[in-house]
């Protein structure tokens, strides 16, 4: 009698990790394939650094997106937000605002993070208190943030001097690992801990599963949803700061369609757009699959037009497979 529940427990644990396991296997197979195709380049530190920067960019955006999608929402503003925050942080550091002289690096970063947090607060407030669909309210920011970024810069990039210390953030490496990637790992650990081990994380999942049940159970539904939108905006801001540093400029055209890439990474990693399901590790694997595929296709000299076709096919296969798997398990 006592042995039976234990056996069941094991079975269940392997079943829930099944989804991530599939994504992991797909990822490893892709790595092996591209390594076999170009063994001398694929594993070179310089090439790995390229992949890691890609994964850091889309992984961070996708983790933010994950927090929102699990609650049953969506955030379309993250691509535009990377441009706006990148432009603002560059302006603050290089030009200053009006009579205010250029600010220091830490202060500029703090200000832009607070601004992004306010945007997230606005999204969350609109979705919860004003009952505006998340798709619409974040679509508004998608337009506004992009427009504002172009307006601030008059369309031209704001370029850093090549010895500006801020550039280390996006361009620097520690033991050949890009600092951007290390930041991703730290954020992923915090995000994973939050979702799996804290009451906040459990409430995020509960809201995605049954928002009415969560409310009746005394979960502070609005507060939790607002928190997820703030998380998404702040992570978009973090990416905006890193990309400004990486490119050496704050430019209003950066991050175009990144929100869709981030959503694609989340979905490939097993996140359900209906809410209630998804994990940080899955999202990271989704971003890693996209990073390795794009890198590998470049190494194989596949036309960049065709690359998008192939990525689209992968996305459709991933979603179809997941839907069928879920359908079968019921």
């Amino acid at each position: 009698m006592t042995a039976e529940p234990k056996a069941n427990r094991k079975a269940r644990v392997s079943l829930t990790q099944f989804r991530e396991l599939n994504v992991l296997i797909a990822f490893l197979l892709l790595c092996i394939f591209f390594y076999s195709q170009s063994p001398d380049v694929f594993l070179k530190p310089a090439n790995l650094a390229v992949i890691m920067r890609f994964v850091a960019t889309f992984g961070l955006l996708a983790i933010g997106e994950l927090f929102v999608i699990i609650t049953g929402g969506i955030d379309l503003s993250v691509g535009s937000m990377t441009a706006l925050t990148g432009v603002i942080v560059a302006t603050l550091m290089i030009k200053g605002v009006g009579p205010i002289p250029p600010l220091g690096i830490p202060l500029s970063i703090i200000i832009v993070v607070i601004l992004a947090g306010l945007v997230g607060l606005w999204h969350g407030f609109s979705v919860t208190k004003m009952r505006i669909p998340p798709f619409i309210i974040t679509l508004g920011t998608w337009l506004m943030a992009r427009g504002l970024a172009a307006y601030i810069t008059r369309g031209y990039p704001i370029v850093f001097e090549s010895d500006f210390p801020f550039l280390r953030l996006g361009q620097g490496e520690i033991f050949q690992i890009p600092i951007m990637f290390i930041i991703l790992v730290v954020v992923a650990l915090i995000g994973s801990f939050t979702l799996n081990s804290t009451t906040l994380g459990r409430h995020i999942y509960a809201i995605g599963g049954n928002i009415e049940a969560a409310r009746l159970s005394g979960v502070h539904v609005n507060r939790v949803r607002i928190f997820s939108y703030i998380t998404s905006s702040i992570l978009a801001c973090l990416v905006g700061i890193m990309l400004a540093s990486r490119l050496g400029q704050g430019t209003p055209t950066v991050g175009t369609a990144y929100e869709l890439w981030a959503i694609a990474a989340a979905v490939i990693g097993g996140t359900s757009l209906f809410g209630g399901e998804g994990s940080v590790i899955g999202v990271l694997l989704g971003a890693a699959i996209m990073g390795v595929m794009i890198n590998g296709m470049v190494l194989l000299n596949i036309s960049s037009y065709l690359q998008n076709v192939i990525l689209g096919i992968v996305l459709v296969i991933a979603v179809t497979y997941d839907t069928l798997r879920r359908y079968r398990s019921k």
């Binding site: 269940r12 644990v13 804290t198 009451t199 906040l200 459990r202 509960a206 049940a213 005394g218 209630g276």
Partner: protein
């Protein structure tokens, strides 16, 4: 019935615009009693229970819990007083496991940082498992997701959830409405088990045979008024006919205030 009532609702009135949903309803619930609450649609059963669970605030009347006058203005208030509501559609998050659902909104934490707590999953799983064992709810493991449970098991989890926090009073809204015959008998067993453990239960139901099986007393509402308050007795056919005649207005035990509708007059 012995002892003081655990819940006493006195002269409860509630209107929605021109509609008088509750007209001076009194309701008593005794310790370890299963009270059936019946009535046709729009008779006011759910409204009355929503007043008790804090979802509605009555226009007039008051509530006594253990003979103490209480002010219930939100579901949180009623929960703090030991009143738990089990909703008709179970109100569970299907993507979470049994243990997570039992403790949803009231997780056991190891430490807290502001509003965010670090969960003690092990304690929650152990307590959820021992709860299931105590109530003899048959579910292999509390780590099973609710979406993998049958309707009867889900209802059992929803009821067990109410019990996890030592509720004095459990209100069940149509606990058997959506269940198969086999599942219904299990849920009825569970209600008996709760009664044996000392809980007091109000059960809203359309299924008079269920109330006959587990109920001690039955209250019938009609058009927002109490028309009957009697022990469950007699054989099932006689019981059913009697209750139905109250429900359709053919009988009325509390009609002395209303002159045109004398008790049993129409029969």
């Amino acid at each position: 019935m012995t002892g003081t009532p655990i819940v006493e609702m006195v002269d409860i009135q509630k209107s929605f615009g021109a509609v008088q949903a509750l007209r001076s309803v009194d309701l008593k619930l005794n310790q370890s009693e299963v009270l059936g609450l019946v009535g046709d649609n729009a008779a006011g059963k759910s409204t009355l229970m929503k007043v008790l669970s804090g979802a509605y605030i009555p226009d007039a009347g008051y509530i006594l819990i253990d003979s103490q006058k209480v002010h219930i203005t939100s579901p949180d208030d009623s929960r703090h007083l030991g009143i738990e509501m089990v909703y008709q559609d179970y109100a569970l998050a299907n993507n979470l496991d049994v243990s997570a659902n039992v403790f949803l909104g009231r997780e056991i934490v190891k430490w807290k940082l502001g509003p965010i707590g670090m969960m003690d999953k092990k304690s929650m799983e152990e307590q959820a498992q021992s709860l299931l064992n105590r109530l003899r709810i048959e579910i292999d493991t509390v780590r099973l997701k609710v979406e993998n449970l049958s309707g009867g098991q889900r209802q059992a989890v929803a009821i067990g959830r109410a019990m996890a926090f030592d509720a004095k009073v459990i209100i069940m809204d149509e606990p058997t409405a959506a269940l198969s015959v086999a599942a219904i008998s299990k849920v009825l067993d569970l209600i008996r088990e709760l009664k044996n453990l000392g809980s007091s239960i109000i059960m809203i139901s359309h299924r008079l045979e269920d109330i006959y099986e587990v109920g001690d007393r039955v209250v019938v509402l009609r058009h927002g008024r109490k028309v009957a308050d009697c022990p469950v007795s007699g054989d099932i056919r006689e019981f059913r006919e009697r209750i139905v005649s109250y429900m359709i207005g053919a009988r009325d035990d509390f009609s002395e205030q209303i002159t045109e509708n004398k008790a049993g007059g129409d029969l």
